[in-house]
Amino acid sequence: MTDQLSQAELVRQSLKRRYRKEWRFRTYGILAIGVAILALVILFTDIISKGYTGFLKTTVTLEVPLDPELMYLDDPTDPEQIRMADFVAPLQQALLNELPTAEKGDRRELGRLMNSYAANQLRDQLQANPDWLGTTRTMTFLANTDVEVYVKHKDDEAYSIKLSDQQQRWVDELVDRGVVESSFNDVFFSSGDSRDPSNAGIAGAIVGSLLTMLVTLCLSFPIGVAAAIYLEEFAPQNRWTDFIEVNINNLAAVPSIIFGLLGLAVFINLFGMPRSVPMVGGLVLTLMTLPTIIISSRASIKSVPPSIREAAEGIGASKMQVVLHHVLPLALPGMLTGSIIGMAQALGETAPLLLIGMVAFIVDVPGGFFESATVMPVQIFLWAGSPELAFIERASAAIMVLLAFLISMNALAIWLRKRLERRW
């Protein structure tokens, strides 16, 4: 009796310690989740705070005097004259007119406020409208990257301001007068890469990604579904089937860079396909995403109850008819979901594409599957490696766009699953 009492006493005495342990263990769990969520939050805020300014462009709106004498040009339809003409002078003159404090000798310094492509833009406009010569036109140009950095990040110590004190005063004055303005950066979405951050955009990368994904989707979805159907419905129980399964499971865990080596050795060296084209990128990503799609498609075929198959067989359908007319339509939503998730993975993939040469500096927006292109993640990689902070800002903005694509793809997958998937 006393023995039992002391036993109970012992337990009671140890309870406090055990509860404390329990509490500690639970706290560790909460801490772990906290760490993970904190990492997620820091990651997102870091990227947003670095990159939201990337969605702003800085423009200069000027009254440009298209004076024939200033430009040494009297016939804009003559290509020879256009080639020799001076298109910087009118821009300098226009800035001089805007700034009463500036003197004639400051022309060169003033010209540096304009984007390096502004003169080309003026030339193209004039060539398109020869009758503008001799008039004064209101035109909007992109500002120089240094001006953009100054306007956006005056108070940020991380950025180094490359403008002289004089130039800074001018820009301040122009901002006050509404000549220099910040607005939504449509250039970022409509142009390809550029050496100059203010002209650089992601249009080329988006189109490249789109073409690559199109190849990947057109190949990996049908092949993946067909392979899943074979393995689930037709494959005999033998060594070959086992071997295929082992292969698929292993390929799903092979590092993606290995697929880049495969693409380089097989598609480029063996078949002599061109480098850095969406076609080869798509083929490599197809091989990479196939295992994921096959595995998820098999899971969704498995979830179709056997009663459906038995009922169809019972009224005389052939095995293929059972699969194509009954099992496949029921399993399709699950397959779609898995494929969208696989495609999202492929969209974010960088390493294998580096090896097949999709890292080239490409200004033009690609027009076909066999033209040199780059993709979103590789564009981010290229910009992230730049020493110029203005490029880093654009890399962050591109990351936001990429993440928006990925999140909406995943949301679509979740919505599809909720909407179409049947519970048995």
Partner: protein, 462 residues
């Protein structure tokens, strides 16, 4: 015609073949007294005609596209005058790129040697010829195949059986593509690796302690051969992976335990997808984060407490890689923990154990093999991860265990050696394939062991 236009045309032809086949099978059935006198439904006759029209044509199109470039290159190189003919593969690719640049107009023919300009013209002509021949061949095969199948439509033929057996074969080929991919991977690394070991000794590669794959600019340059000892890469990979696992395993495991054992349903519904979001972030974004935010932060802190840290530290890459792997560990452990039968939990709780005691003494030991399998898979992920280390770990092959120094990894070296222009017979390029082979073998072994352990474990409780 461009292949991009040819493909839709084939699709149209297939549709026509289908429609004609359908019409013919119905027409044949009418005099017999309706389609029930056909051996198969009209759909199957039509499908058979469509297959005959489409499959051979697509097969030929794919083969042509695959081998066209190589055949044209061989023809061009063969037709070059003797003084221009390249001796090595490296020269060949140089000459060929020159020719194609002239052909595409990127390089003016005036500046190129006589033979090159001629070859460029020939290249253009061959390309045009090849495209024309391909278009003609593919289209005629499609039409011919469709026509033959259309002619052979007869009421007594069991078209369904034929269509189904063809489909079954196609399905099998799709599944067998997995084997083909593995074989492709092995073959693409093995030949270059063998050539690499012809230039660099086995012992130097596996036991050498210095890695600097410079190629000689001058023949008498110091270190002209480059050093190819992979130990420093191995050490670097191991260092970064261990830092990553030190972050990922405790955090991933504890959050899985909390979410599966403690969290209420709504909490679980919020935090589980949030954790999975970490898995959906592309690696290049993690690399960006590691290189531009975490690495400077770490080097600032190290400086503040009087340590010297390199601007590209193993710690930054490892930490961020750990964050990336957290969801991987947590979702695998979650599965495993949930697979432990509820009866074991109930038994332990009924004996008066607290939840944490149940977890530590009953569930965790039962789930350990599965968790180990998951951790091994995570290790294989960490070893093969590329973008984070390329952006944040640096290129210097230091042999160090100090996480504040810059190290380099196997994947970083593969990328650096293969990005950009390369000659295909230098030891430098071949070394990348040898490293790739090592990486493939190591991850393959890890995966096989891990998958085996996980499967064994599942069977135990199923």
């Amino acid at each position: 015609m461009q292949p991009a236009n040819l493909f839709p045309l084939i699709v149209v032809l297939v549709a026509i073949a289908f429609a004609l086949g359908y019409a013919r099978s119905r027409a044949l059935a009418m005099p017999l007294g309706g389609i029930r006198n056909l051996k198969s439904l009209p759909f199957y006759y039509a499908a058979r005609a469509a297959m005959w029209c489409g499959l051979p044509a697509l097969l030929i199109l794919a083969c042509w596209l695959g081998f066209e470039a190589k055949v044209i290159q061989t023809l061009i190189v063969g037709s070059l005058p003797a003084e221009l003919r390249p001796d090595t593969a490296g020269q060949a690719s140089l000459v060929l790129s020159q020719i194609s640049n002239v052909a595409s107009g990127a390089l003016s023919g005036d500046f190129a040697p006589e033979g090159i300009a001629a070859a460029a013209e020939r290249l253009e002509a061959l390309r045009a010829q090849s495209t024309f021949m391909m278009t003609a061949l593919v289209l005629s095969i499609a039409v011919l195949g469709g026509f033959i199948a259309w002619l052979r439509i007869a009421p007594h033929i069991n078209a369904r059986e034929k269509v189904e057996s063809t489909l079954r074969k196609i399905f099998f080929l799709c599944a067998a593509l997995a084997i083909l991919t593995t074989v492709g991977i092995i073959f693409s690394v093995i030949f270059e690796t063998i050539r690499f070991f012809g230039k660099v000794s086995f012992i130097e590669f596996f036991f050498g302690t210095s890695w600097s794959p410079q190629t000689a600019i001058r023949a008498d340059q110091v270190g002209a051969d480059g050093a190819f000892g992979m130990i420093p890469l191995f050490v670097g990979t191991l260092l970064i992976s261990s830092i990553a696992m030190l972050v990922a395993v405790p955090v991933g495991l504890m959050s899985a335990i909390y979410l599966s054992e403690y969290a209420s349903k709504p909490v679980r519904a919020i935090f589980k997808p949030a954790l999975e979001m970490l898995a959906g972030v592309p690696t290049v974004v993690y690399g960006f984060f590691a290189a531009l935010t975490v690495a400077p932060f770490i080097s600032d802190i190290a400086e503040a407490i009087g340590l010297s840290a390199s601007s590209q530290s193993a710690l930054a890459a490892g930490l961020v890689m750990g964050i990336m792997i957290i969801p991987f560990v947590s979702s695998l452990s979650d599965d495993v923990i949930n697979a432990v039968p509820q009866t074991m939990r109930d038994g332990s709780l009924a004996l008066g154990a607290t939840q944490s005691e149940t977890m530590k003494k009953v569930i965790f030991p039962a789930a350990l093999p599965g968790i180990m399998g998951g951790v091994l898979l995570a290790v294989s992920r960490a070893i093969g991860e590329t973008m984070i280390v390329v952006m944040a770990a640096g290129l210097a092959a230091n042999m160090t265990a100090n996480p504040l120094e810059a190290v380099t990894t196997v994947t970083v070296q593969i990328v650096t050696l293969l990005v950009g222009d390369q000659e295909f017979d230098s030891a430098k390029t071949l070394a990348a394939f040898a490293l790739g082979m090592m990486l493939f073998i190591v991850t393959l072994l890890l995966n096989i062991v891990a998958l085996h352990v996980v499967r064994k474990y599942r069977e135990q409780y199923d």
